[in-house]
Each structure stands twice: as C-alpha cells, then as structure tokens.
Symmetry: C2
Subunit: 209 residues, 2 copies
Amino acid sequence: MLQLYFSPMACSLASRIALMEAGLDARYHLVHLRTKAIADDDSDFRGVSPMGAVPVLVLENGERLTESAAVLQYIADAKPEAGLAPRFGDPDRYRLQEWLSFIGNEIHKAFLFPTFWYQDDGSLAKPRARIAQTLAVPSAHLADREFLVGNSFTVADAHLAWALLLLRPAGVDIAQWPPLSAYLERMQARPKVREAIAIELALRKTLAA
Amino acid sequence: MLQLYFSPMACSLASRIALMEAGLDARYHLVHLRTKAIADDDSDFRGVSPMGAVPVLVLENGERLTESAAVLQYIADAKPEAGLAPRFGDPDRYRLQEWLSFIGNEIHKAFLFPTFWYQDDGSLAKPRARIAQTLAVPSAHLADREFLVGNSFTVADAHLAWALLLLRPAGVDIAQWPPLSAYLERMQARPKVREAIAIELALRKTLAA
C-alpha cells in the first residue's frame, strides 16, 4: 500500500486529493512541519526527507518519492483508469507537466513561500507585485475551460485547487479573478476534494487546540 | 523546426544544452528579459509568454510550451535515441521529474529568485539559511554517482548544471560541496555543454557592451 507523509493543508493536500480521486488506499503519516516530528512515533521526519518537506510518497517497493510534480504523476499513473493524467505519448501530458511546474514554481515557491518567510511589506513587495500577473495566466486559461488540462479532472487540478485555497490566508482575494473563484468552487464541489479538505482542516483544528 | 526563446545564461540555457545534446536543430530567439523585447524585431515578448519568462519552446505544430520541467522532457522525448530521459514506464522517469522539480523549486525559485529581487541582508537571510540544506541533497546524491538519474546524462543534468553555474554570481561558493563542484566540472567537460555555455556567455558580453 502507498504511504503519504503529509502536513494538514500543506501542499501534500494535492497528493491526498489525487489518491482519493484515484480511489487508492494509502496510509497517511502526519508530520509536524515546525518541529519536523512524525506524529506516529515522534521520530525525526528528516530521516525520511532531508529537506523536511512534504509530500513524501512511499512506494510499494519502499522507495521514497518527493516533489509534488513527481508524486502527483506517479499517483495518476498508478491508476490509469481513473484518468488523472493524460497517458504518456499524449501531447497533453506536457501540458500537465507545464501546469504542475507553473503552480509549484510561480504560485507556491515564488509567492506563497515568501509569505511564510516575511511579515514586512518591504520584503513582500516583489512577490506581491508578481502574483497578479501570475494568477492572470490560469484565469485566462480557465475562462472557457472547466479543467486545466483536457476535459476532465487531473492531478494538475488537485495542485491548483490546493494553491488557490492557500491564497486567501496569504492575503490574496481570488474574487478578483472570477474564472479562478468559479473554478475553485467547482473543484470544491467534487466529493473527494471536499472530503480531503475536510479531513485536513479537522486535523489542523485538533493540532491547534 | 523547434524554436526556443531564451535569454543568455537564464534558465533557458538548460533547454539549449538539451537541444544540443540531442542533436536537434532549432531556431533561437533572444529575449531581453529586462525590457521584454524580442531581439529579432524588437516586438513584445509578452505576446509570446504572458509571464515574460523563458524558456518558451515553439513546437513543430506552432504551439508554445513553457516551464523548464515540461520543455526539457519534451526535448528529451523528441529524440529518444539520445537517451536524455528514461522512457515513459521506466520508474526512473519519476526520478527525473523529481529532480527537475527540485531544481526548479528549491534552487531556482526558493533561492536564486530572491537573490534577483533583494539586495539587503535582512530579506536574504531566509533563502540564504535554506540553501545549504538544499544543496546538501544533490551533493549527497552525487557523492557516488556520475549523473543525477541512472548512468548517463539526462535533461536533469542540463538543469542542475545551469543552476550550479548561477550560484556563484548569487554569492554561493559550491566548493563547499566537493561532489557538486566535481560534478559541475564533469558537466562542463562535455563538448555540447561547453559549447552552449560559450555561446550564451558571448551573447551576454555583446549585450553588456
């Protein structure tokens, strides 16, 4: 059985959504990102991931795979009949990779990361100036499309839905981009997406209590 | 023929290396990243790429593909006999995707990007504190390996070689990680890598003159 190291509402949420949409059973291990402790037994997560970063997917053969772009494609390919990624050889597979990279690079690392690092307006000026330009790209793309790639839900949608959810606490109101807020509503209306988010929000509340 | 929009020594260098290692002819279009002008005709690059970011690969059918992780895999698959990526279905393909994502996210966006944005030590403290931990990961991996993935040069090596080259002007001396400096030397000893770098350094000098 696959295993996923995750932290509630961190980017590993996209991998949980992918696993649940694929109908794949998995064991989930909660990681406290601040202390780098694995909740199961309080062991050091850096023994699993040298960067101390989620997601980490433990494969059936015991190997560990990191980085959302790789983990999400692995999950999609583990259950091809779920259609969570265009098959290899389909030109849309590169579109999937393009979106996974764009979301990871431009939204997560170039915007959300600095908002975790800095509180002061000076340091945040550059990433804030950039985020409107960044979000205009998926907004234009989704103006007349239901999903990021092709005509059905893929792991790229799992990734973007997570990133959009995180923008509000980071101070960005996506209502400025009606195609994005409509898209996030559509994604959240999917039973598995809703269930995955509910699980992680509940865990987060328990941790905060 | 494929076409590549690039800026000298920007991350698009990895795509040039991949094209040259694959032996693929391509038309190269120089972009002035500061002014967003395409050197060919002084037109606005944002008409090609809404983010104004390189690389952009123009495919044979005229479609444009962005994001190094996607562009590099596309180039590798366009000439499978060059062996620049494990074939689809090979578990190492996910390792390639993992490294492409790691280099793009952790070295380029989480470290190099802030060094382009900020000059002050305060703003740079967080990314600087993180980069040693980041570089320890490929350093440990390469301590007993010649290449990032498998036993031959792949597009992940093109990507990492570029990132390591950029670390010096960003104030990081990779001599602290002997496996990384030995690796960069090995990569730079490859004729096509050396040629690609020489072309872009010369262009950069011309632009600065």
